[in-house]
Every structure is written in structure tokens, then in C-alpha cells.
Symmetry: C2
Subunit: 203 residues, 2 copies
């Protein structure tokens, strides 16, 4: 760290400056085009300091995901009565995306992750560890992870069409109406008795 | 068309060769990096012939989407009893994705579309014209397009997690079981009386 310019390694603002440069680079240029050296240059620090804080480009991207995706905000909706989990989850998820600035950052990170398999794997792993598994622990153990993933399919599909592709009239549907519409789907996947009928005769 | 090399403009195989080169380029290099000239070179034809058949790079991409996405195959499931539409749609959609070669091509085209706004707009427009609107015409006119789009959110979310991100145990869930699990969701969005409750009190 002998070449650092202007910023102190021990300063938390240094870490913040690196993170800000990293999120900016990943969202503007994508995962493949982002380099430790370029992020260091933008943040005004030595590349070794980026490595010191984040370990690798993958570590930097994982932190950028955490920084951009309100994982804890969503997980906070897990607490409470299991019978209302679908509506709580839908309401919280939509309200997180509804914030225009946060929504744009989330879409940009998803976009960066989608473009590079290594980045997609990091996002997947983080989603599984911090959202799917914690959600699954609340459910009946049999099929718990499948149930959590099924709920995730509905949430991700809504984000794709409403916030990323912005297809009308879905984009302008009031949030509480949309939450009330998808909540029974989430609830059925998470706790419904019929979600894992083993025959294909179904409904 | 004076410079064409080796292929005849009137030959349907010439159009097929151009289309094959175009799908290959869009899926391998993405929309932004694909050029009329490069596609023409791969197909062994003059660039003017590509323009003659497809009009523009956008026209070429729209045709590549049609070629790669089994739009008619999915729309065929619209015919039949409205009370079974959810299950027919789920079953057909999953079976189209389940074919490994077709599924990989579909994922690659989605990927190409996701990376460039202009390409995403073309995909969106095609989806709306050829799937969302035809599906909506089968439904109660009020909210018909919203209902069709809600069904699309569930279908797209399943494709993302099961086929694109390949998250287990969703990827190895038997097709008929998954179809039976998501069919009631689709059916409720498409024809359910409660899908458009106007209050946020919901369930």
C-alpha cells in the first residue's frame, strides 16, 4: 500500500469510495469489462487496497450486489405470521423496486449479472444463501426449498415485466393492487397443501 | 445484387443460410456486435441480399427471434376450453423449454435481447403482438391485457430460475408436477374473479 494516493486505508470512507466506484463500473460497463485497476483509479486508491478490502473481482462484485440489492430489507418481511407471509413478501418486494433510484440500480446489477456466467453464479449463490434458504427455514421441511424457489419465480417474473421491460399496463398498476393479486400465489407456493401434488392431473 | 458469391437470391436456401448465420451471430456475439456485413460474410452472400430479405438489422433480429422462439407452438395452446387454459399453457410452455437444443437457443436469444435496449424493445413488441394480445382476446375484456401479462410474469419467472439460472431443485422437478403447480396461478390470473380486487386489503 505504498502507492496509495490521497486516501487512507483505515478510513471507512475509503472503502465506501471503492464500493461506489465498483457499483458504477459494474452497472455501466458490466462484469467482464470491470477491472480492479480501473475501480482503484476511479476511487483514487492503489489497486492493492481494493484487493485488501475485497479479495478479488468476484469479492468486489458480491459486495456490489449486497450494496445494490436490498437483501436485508426483503428478508425483514419474513418475520411474522406465516399465514400472511405471501402478502408481506409481495408488498415489501414491490415497494423496494418502486423506489426509482434503487430500482434502477437493482436492474443495472441484474443486467450486469445476466451478461456474464461467472457473475450470474455469484448472484445465484447470494440469492440462495441470503434469501431462499432463510425463507425455506420458515416452511414445512419437505419441499421447503422448492416452495421458496417457486415464490421466487413469481417475484422475479414481476420484476422483469414491470420494472425491467416496463410492459404496460403492468408498470402503472397500483402497488397495493398488484401485491394483493400476487400474494395468494406466493402464499400457495409457500404454505399451500396442494402445491406438491405428485400427479400431473393437477387442478 | 451483382456481387453475390455462390448463392442465388431466389433460392429459399439462401434465406435459410442468412437466417442461420444471423441466429449464430446474435446468440454468440449479441445484438450490438452483430453486423449485416458479418452475417452476409458467414452466409456467403452479398450484404445487399441480407437487406433485400430482412430490410435492416432490426428486421434481421426480429426474424431471428421468430426463428428461435416457438411463438406459434405456444399460441397453439390457447385453443380449447377456457377453464383449462392455465394447465394447457403451463404444460406447453414447459415442454417447449424442456427440449435442450431449443431451450438453449431461446435462452441465448433472451440473453442477446437483454443486453441491448433496442433489442429488448423488439422482443417486447413481438411478445405483445404475437402472444399477449392474442391471449388477451380470449379473456373478459376488462383487464384482459393485465391478466395476460400477469400470466406472463409467472411463465417468465419460471424460465429464468429453471432454465436460465438453473436453480435446483427447480430444474430437476418433473415437468408435469411443475405444470400442475403453476397452472392454478395462471388460471387465476387469466380468469379468476378475485384477481382484480380494487382494494389493497387483498387476501
Amino acid at each position: 500500500m505504498t502507492e496509495e494516493r490521497g486516501r487512507r486505508p483505515g478510513n471507512p470512507q475509503t472503502r465506501d469510495a471503492i464500493m461506489e466506484a465498483a457499483v458504477g463500473s459494474f452497472t455501466a460497463k458490466g462484469y467482464a469489462q470491470t477491472t480492479i485497476r480501473g475501480v482503484a483509479r476511479t476511487a483514487g486508491v492503489d489497486p492493492a487496497l481494493v484487493m485488501h478490502f475485497f479479495g478479488s473481482k468476484d469479492g468486489l462484485f458480491a459486495s456490489a450486489i449486497r450494496q445494490s440489492m436490498p437483501i436485508e430489507g426483503l428478508a425483514a418481511s419474513f418475520d411474522g405470521d406465516l399465514g400472511d407471509l405471501g402478502l408481506r413478501l409481495a408488498t415489501r418486494y414491490l415497494s423496494l423496486w418502486d423506489d426509482p433510484e434503487r430500482g434502477a440500480r437493482m436492474a443495472a446489477i441484474l443486467h450486469a449479472a445476466a451478461a456474464t456466467p461467472a457473475a450470474a453464479d455469484l448472484l445465484k449463490e447470494l440469492m440462495r444463501q441470503e434469501l431462499v434458504r432463510p425463507l425455506a427455514t420458515l416452511l414445512e421441511p419437505e419441499h421447503a426449498e422448492s416452495r421458496a424457489l417457486l415464490a421466487a419465480t413469481q417475484l422475479i417474473g414481476v420484476a422483469m415485466l414491470r420494472y425491467v421491460l416496463r410492459m404496460e399496463p403492468l408498470t402503472s398498476m397500483p402497488t397495493d393492487q398488484l401485491a394483493a393479486t400476487i400474494a395468494p400465489t406466493l402464499q400457495r407456493y409457500l404454505t399451500g397443501a396442494d402445491s406438491f401434488a405428485t400427479t400431473g392431473e393437477g387442478r
